[in-house]
């Protein structure tokens, strides 16, 4: 069916077109405790077709749809005809697609993916965790896929790559004589990182123990907050969003190239880089969804925007011909060690209900399920209450540890310190 639709598009007489063909072979295993609840497998193909039509001299419209692999040749022809007509209904300022010269600069070896072997690694890793009488695994789900993605467009790009994509969802229980709680974890990666899983789940079980003995979070008013888990990614995703051409052009981000993002920097200025590869990342790709080659690119250097990165349309409007949609990202470490950042008083939330940073407003929220409160002398586990604030106000005093840690497609400082966050306790 893919070749049929490519033939149809080449002869359709349209301004431009793009096709993405994504084939997935996946295995899944679902466990209750360590007993298999269900096993699943899938073999699917998704063909996504996008057609562009000129509307007058200065505009272009686009329409897109999925062509199912089970479609008949007649259905494929009808889909292309429909998209041709519909693309003329929604005019946008004209822009061009990626050219092949750019994409072909970026070869990347695609190794075969052994789904059963990766699945076996997950099964072995999750069946041999350091469980105790009071901390154990409630349930888990394993997803392993081999994905082959081909992108073709009317400008001549035709690139294909194969990659592994894995995910494990793990529910941890911790209990004492009167109470049982759960902690939720989701791990994404290329293949199985057994050592990382074991390390993180051992720490999760320790958090469970501490939550059961946690005191109420005191009403701290303003406090310095340490982020030492993947919740820090919510903070750094705010930076990525503010550097997206779609946000900048629509005035939803006021970050300008060459202009510091904070008037005064008392802590560490952030350096953010898009990376083509990170070890075992689920997002290692040679090209993005629109066929743009992915490369290493500094986006923000020492708190100063250097390069906007994002989708083709808004990038083209801003004249950013070498833009792409980043997959892997890294935030450079700061000037001091994590130990040095643990000076003075701080609150270190390690379990939130759902920690969020709004990319548009910069508002941060999170209900605390477990944090460690350090009053300058001793550290105690606390629970309840919430943290809130706004990134615009916190930007100037971010402190980043020199040590870094990787969470799937992100490498970030192992410790991020946000100074002056509002902490609502539960005793007020």
């Amino acid at each position: 069916m893919l070749e049929k639709v490519l033939e149809l598009l080449k002869n359709a007489g349209v301004y431009a077109w793009e096709v993405t063909d994504k084939k997935t072979e996946g295995w899944e295993f679902y466990f209750i405790r360590h007993a298999l609840d269900q096993n699943r497998a899938k073999s699917v193909e998704h063909i996504h077709v996008k057609v562009y039509q000129r509307i007058g001299e200065a505009s272009v419209g686009a329409a897109e749809a999925e062509l199912h692999p089970s479609a008949t040749p007649e259905e494929a022809a009808q889909l292309v005809e429909n998209l041709k007509a519909e693309a003329g209904l929604a005019p946008n300022r004209i822009y061009s697609l990626r050219s092949p010269e750019e994409a072909h600069r970026a070869p990347r070896d695609s190794a075969a993916v052994d789904v059963p072997a990766i699945a076996g690694d997950f099964l072995a890793a999750l069946s041999a965790l350091p469980e105790t009488e009071t901390e154990d695994i409630n349930s888990y789900e394993i997803f392993v896929s081999a994905v082959t993605r081909r992108f073709v467009n009317s400008a001549g790009i035709d690139v294909t790559e194969t990659y592994p994509s894995s995910m494990a969802e793990v529910i941890v229980n911790a209990r004492n004589a009167g109470e049982e709680i759960e902690l939720y974890r989701m791990y994404r990666s290329g293949s199985c990182d057994a050592a990382g899983l074991r390390r993180n789940l051992a720490r999760t079980m320790a958090y469970g123990r501490d939550r059961l003995r946690a005191a109420p979070t005191p009403p701290l008013g303003r406090a310095d907050v340490l982020l030492s888990t993947d919740d820090a990614l919510a903070v750094y995703r705010y930076f990525v969003a503010r550097l997206d051409p779609a946000m900048v052009l629509r005035q939803m981000s006021d970050w300008k190239l060459g202009v510091p993002i904070a008037r005064e920097v008392r802590g560490d200025a952030v350096t953010l880089t898009a990376l083509r590869e990170l070890p075992n990342s689920s997002r290692n790709r040679a090209f993005d969804r629109e066929g743009a080659p992915i490369r290493d690119q500094v986006m923000l250097r020492a708190g100063v925007p250097e390069h906007y990165l994002g989708g083709r349309m808004f990038s083209a409007y801003m004249g950013l011909e070498d833009s792409f949609q980043p997959g892997n990202l890294a935030v450079s470490g700061g000037s001091r060690s994590a130990a040095e950042l643990r000076q003075g008083k701080w609150l270190e939330p390690v379990e939130f209900s759902d920690f969020q940073v709004d990319p548009m407003t910069g508002d941060i929220f999170g209900e605390i399920r477990l944090a460690y409160w350090h009053d300058g002398e001793k550290t105690v586990p606390v629970s309840g209450g919430s943290v809130s604030g706004n990134m615009r106000e916190l930007l100037g005093d971010l402190q980043l540890s020199a040590e870094t840690v990787q969470y799937d497609n992100w490498r970030v400082p192992a410790l991020t310190r946000l100074n002056g966050v509002t902490v609502t306790g539960i005793e007020s």
Partner: protein, 477 residues
């Protein structure tokens, strides 16, 4: 008109029956869910216009479920050839046999589950709609949405973007097993207006939506939502921070719905009972809310985006009274969890799409109405807030904690709205205390189906929720 059932599904039905018969040689239970759902999604804003045909629930594919020796297994594919069911049979056997070899090699234990009963049932349902997404006049709809976006940009000088989005999906699903033959077709639609304002480098967003069972005709009501969305965004620019603490609150219907969803939606999904992941199991028959607190859940209890005729396991849709005047009566249940718990399924077995596993999922989750008016409720508040607009929520069924991010609060002092607005707000609390504090409910109620719901951080499905205005107490931050 009736939403016509998919000709594609009718065309592969005989082939699927042959596939089931082939698999029945090897397995003791076999069923197949085939889907063919088409849609239209229009996204119109000042800077970008898009015509798409993929929504959250568009799909075409087949998932086969088999049972043998106490274990359920599934295989999903979307290149099924009805003329060659033998090829699909070989593909399914090959994959599942390879998985079983790995499971044997790793010494994996099985969580044994009985065979599904597969009681005989035939059903063919085509629900009413005025229009279909596949035949609607896209040009006219683009023009209407463009007019909304353009008008929104002119409503306030601080507007930087106004998005008018419309999605409509025509669902067709076919469930087949040895003794069941179920077909359904229906259309649901959802439209949203989003206003974005900026002032001195600060952005704020206001939004409103329409949703329901029906086709693109529902978008006629979207323009009426624009003024409120813009007003909310503008009010948020001047909003102050709330002083953290416990307050009397009145929740607008959309916030009531969010509480219903997070508090006792997820908390009584009975696949969580199987895993001992929810406190609700221990509270059946016990008080979890005030006398004024009653709540329904089910695909039949509203005409909304999740109002199907049967679920993804071939179980007929239901209408469950979860909470009856403060007493937790029952939860909701998919078919396999029901077998494990020894209860009847409630028609809440849902998949994100044919590629995904079934979980117990919500459909329409709604608080019952009361007999107060909003004015009476406001007049009864000494010091508190009227909470409007939802951002997100997160449950903790094991601990009955709840977190809701609410768009804004309107201050009430001595029974009157003061005009002061606070935002953003985190509502947190302990579910039985939050529901136990309900002291007034308004007479009217609304439902909202503009969003989706995840299980943990994945498995997104369409749901609706809602209720009346509720007065209770909660901690705000």
């Amino acid at each position: 008109m009736k939403a016509p059932f998919s000709p594609y599904l009718l065309g592969i039905k005989a082939g699927l029956k042959r596939l089931i018969a082939l698999l029945e040689r090897d397995y003791d239970y076999v069923s197949a869910l085939a889907t063919d759902s088409v849609g239209l999604a229009l996204h119109i804003s000042r800077h970008a216009k898009a015509v798409e045909h993929e929504t959250m629930t568009t799909e075409r594919g087949v998932v086969v479920r088999v049972w043998r020796d106490g274990l359920y297994s599934e295989f999903a594919l979307n290149a099924f050839d009805p003329e060659q069911p033998e090829a699909a049979y070989a593909q399914i056997r090959g994959a599942l046999d390879a998985q079983m070899a790995l499971l044997r090699a790793t010494g994996t234990k099985i969580y044994e589950t009985p065979r599904l009963p597969d009681e005989p049932l035939t059903l063919f349902v085509e629900k009413e709609t005025e229009q279909l997404p596949e035949t609607t006049d896209i040009g006219a709809l683009v023009a209407a949405l463009t007019a909304i976006s353009d008008r929104g940009m002119g409503l306030d000088s601080r507007m930087i973007e106004c998005i008018a989005a419309a999605q409509s999906t025509h669902i067709s699903k076919l469930f087949l097993s040895h003794d069941r033959d179920l077909s359904q077709s229906y259309v649901y639609s959802e439209g949203t207006v989003v206003a974005v304002v900026a002032e001195q480098g600060r952005n704020q967003i206001g939004y409103d939506s329409v949703s329901g069972l029906g086709g693109p005709e529902l978008f006629a009501g979207l323009g009426e939502k624009l003024d409120r969305a813009v007003q909310t965004a503008v009010e948020l620019l001047a909003a102050e921070s709330v002083e953290p603490g416990e307050y009397e609150i009145i929740t607008a219907p959309e916030v009531s719905g969010l509480i219903a969803h997070e508090a006792f939606g997820h908390g009584v999904e009975m696949d969580m009972f199987v895993k001992d992941r929810a406190l609700g199991r221990d509270y059946i028959g016990k008080r979890v809310g005030s006398e004024l607190c009653s709540m329904h859940e089910g695909a039949l209890c509203a005409e909304e985006v999740a109002s199907y005729a049967f679920d993804d396991e071939g179980v007929l849709a239901g209408d469950v009274t979860e909470i009856d005047r403060g007493i937790l009566r029952t939860g909701i249940c998919d078919a396999l969890s029901a077998l494990r718990l020894g209860v009847a399924p409630t028609g809440n077995g849902k998949r994100e799409n044919f590629e995904h596993k079934v979980y117990t999922r919500m459909t329409n989750t709604i608080f019952d109405s009361g007999d107060s008016t909003l004015d009476e409720m406001i007049a009864s508040v000494k010091r508190g807030y009227l909470l409007e607009g939802c951002e997100s929520g997160m449950e903790d069924p094991k601990h009955w904690g709840i977190q809701c991010i609410v768009k804004l609060g309107r201050e009430i002092v001595d029974g009157k709205l003061t005009g002061r607005v606070v935002a953003p707000i985190i509502l947190t609390g302990y579910v039985p205390e939050l529901l136990g504090g309900i002291s007034m409910c308004s007479r009217d109620r609304e439902t909202f189906g503009g969003g989706g719901c995840g299980k943990g951080y994945k498995e997104f499905v369409k749901v609706s929720d809602g209720g009346p205005y509720l007065k209770t107490k909660a901690r705000l931050g």
